[in-house]
Amino acid sequence: MSAKNSVMVFIEQNNSKVADVSLELVSEGKKLADKLGVALDAVAIGYNLEKEVEVLGHYGCNTVFYINDERLSHFTSVPYAKTIVEIIKKHEPQIVLFGATTTGRDVAPRVASELKCGLTADCTELQIGEYKLKSKVYKNTLLQIRPAFGGNIVATIVSPESMPSMATVREGVMKMAEPDTSKEVELVSEKCGLDDSDFMTEVIEVMIEEKNVDLKSANIIVSAGMGAATPEGLELVKKLANTLGGEVGASRPVVDSGIIDRDHQVGQTGLTVRPNLYIACGISGQIQHRAGMAEAKRIIAINNDPDAPIFNIAHYGIVGDVNDIINRMIKAYKARA
């Protein structure tokens, strides 16, 4: 049975498979729902996804509202937004979570605008807590925590009177729960109420490009910041990664400078990674970057500035010339007992 006041997750699909970010949000949403004592529901939109959404149950989803229509097989803004709005109006969740993907960041604002509700982008943490405004106390409200202002502050945002409160969260930020295959999700089919005129975007072609780097499953990541953004520095970073059997990461300024592909970007606007070892080479450690790597099991920071903020979250700090230190590490690794 579905109930009002649930926590709801918008399910994204990649080639008809439920996206990782959606499973992460179901896992996180389940925790919020348990705290509130409500159900965790999902809304899935697409074509022939009945089998694919079964996995949601394994992560704690109670009910998935499913809209099946061939015209919805590929994401476009207006039809998806209108469909989600209808589901929210009908089932009245108190919280709705979206992945902060190109899909979620496209559709969530449009949904929030139509429902006139609060939406907080790119949250790095979600909590249930209290908010006081003058004499009013809002209990059990969603606390949405995110870096703001270029990462120089961390803000806690609330939408106390908004029904629902909506938030987007980037892939990799929330942890995926261990799946429990004995748990099943209830699938509730919902009618698609769209007119052909709602399909304002014609999808001409979708080109999928294979990524040549897999940071998310890498055990070791050697990352370059502006302090290693010289041709020589970048070569050494790659060499160290190769030597250790790891992947190459980079900070946003390095990616923005165009010397390395965006697939390598670690941080708030890139990927969030949790490797066993993260070696930050010439990375100052702005919060946007730290948001993407602070949970690495071990962090080695290499920087010529002893006051670089990266040293505050590192387990090992080496102050000195980046190239010099990397050379020493390669040498030491090859010579190790």
Binding site: P109, N152, I153, I157, I204, M207, I208, E209, D324
Partner: protein, 289 residues
């Protein structure tokens, strides 16, 4: 019938170059010490607008919402070839979140007679939300195409674009009117034209068209404007309740400046011995193989 293009621009504090004194002791941001700049991706949106005008013609109006000194970026728009500029400014807009902002901007856009294309930067560097563009589109009840990395084809009735997505890109087509959010992959924005910069150097804001300055007629530019339009809550027919703080469902509960907690970082000496010791320690702990 020529294309009517509206470009939404924003003046933002340069958050990518924040120095230590930008944070006040109470953890809030001291905007006064940060340089105000043209939001980078809005320049990409502006560049696309100018390219369209150069290829198939059209009229470009740039709109910004902000304090009076935001006229600075409107002048930057004029220096690059924009035809008309509007400053939407009112104390009643203060404290607006993305919903209240998009409502005010929607009212301003509707005051511009007609529009075929609304171009925005993907996101502004002060909030990084990327929400205002899609919210304006919803409020105008028009289609949206976000994360546009290339305009492939445009004519007076429809537009085809390339959109960057996580694992590739899509080619999408929409009829007009439509709102686009443009990324920094789209182009390298041009620098101001010296001729236009001279012509518009002394232009200033006016709330009504009381006088016309002949100086601009002699500047050698076709149909130059003589002043920067200034609109407020009343002139864009906005409901004050839906603007600013009162129109914003999101509230800031708490703001902390990012003060790092000192952890027990182990200092490794930058010597052959120091680094060899580290590598051996990590090997023993099976962190590296």
């Amino acid at each position: 019938m020529s294309l009517q293009i509206i470009v939404m621009v924003k003046q933002v504090p340069d958050t990518h170059n924040v120095s230590g004194d930008a944070m006040k002791p109470d953890g809030t941001v001291n905007r006064a010490v940060l340089p105000a700049i043209f939001n980078p991706e809005d320049l990409n949106a502006l560049e696309e607008a100018i390219k369209i005008k150069e290829t198939i013609g059209g009229k470009i109006t740039a709109i910004t919402m902000g304090p009076p000194n935001a006229v600075k970026i409107l002048k930057e728009c004029l220096y690059r070839g924009v035809d008309d500029v509007v400053l939407v400014s009112d104390r009643k807009f203060a404290g607006a979140d993305t919903l209240a902002t998009s409502y005010a901007l929607k009212c301003a856009i509707e005051k511009v007679e007609k529009y075929d294309l609304v171009l925005c930067g993907r996101q502004a560097i002060d909030g990084d939300t990327a929400q205002v563009g899609p919210q304006i589109a919803e409020k105008l009840n028009i289609n949206q195409l976000t994360c546009v990395s290339e305009i492939v084809e445009v004519n007076e009735t429809d537009i085809t674009i390339k959109r960057s997505i996580e694992n590739g890109h899509e080619f999408l087509k929409s009829n007009m009117p439509v709102l686009l959010t443009v990324t920094n992959e789209a182009n390298e924005p041009r620098t101001p034209s010296a001729k236009l910069a001279v012509a518009y150097k002394n232009i200033s804001g006016k709330t009504s068209d009381e006088s016309y300055d002949d100086e601009y007629l002699e500047s050698g530019i076709d149909d130059p404007i003589s002043y920067i339009k200034e609109w407020n809550v009343e002139s864009i027919n906005a409901d004050p309740q839906l603007c600013g703080l009162s129109g914003s469902p999101t509230k800031v509960k708490k703001v902390q400046s990012v003060v790092l907690t000192a952890s027990d970082v182990k200092q490794i000496q930058n010597t052959d011995e120091g680094i060899a010791e580290l590598i051996n320690e990590l090997t023993e702990e099976h962190i590296i193989g």
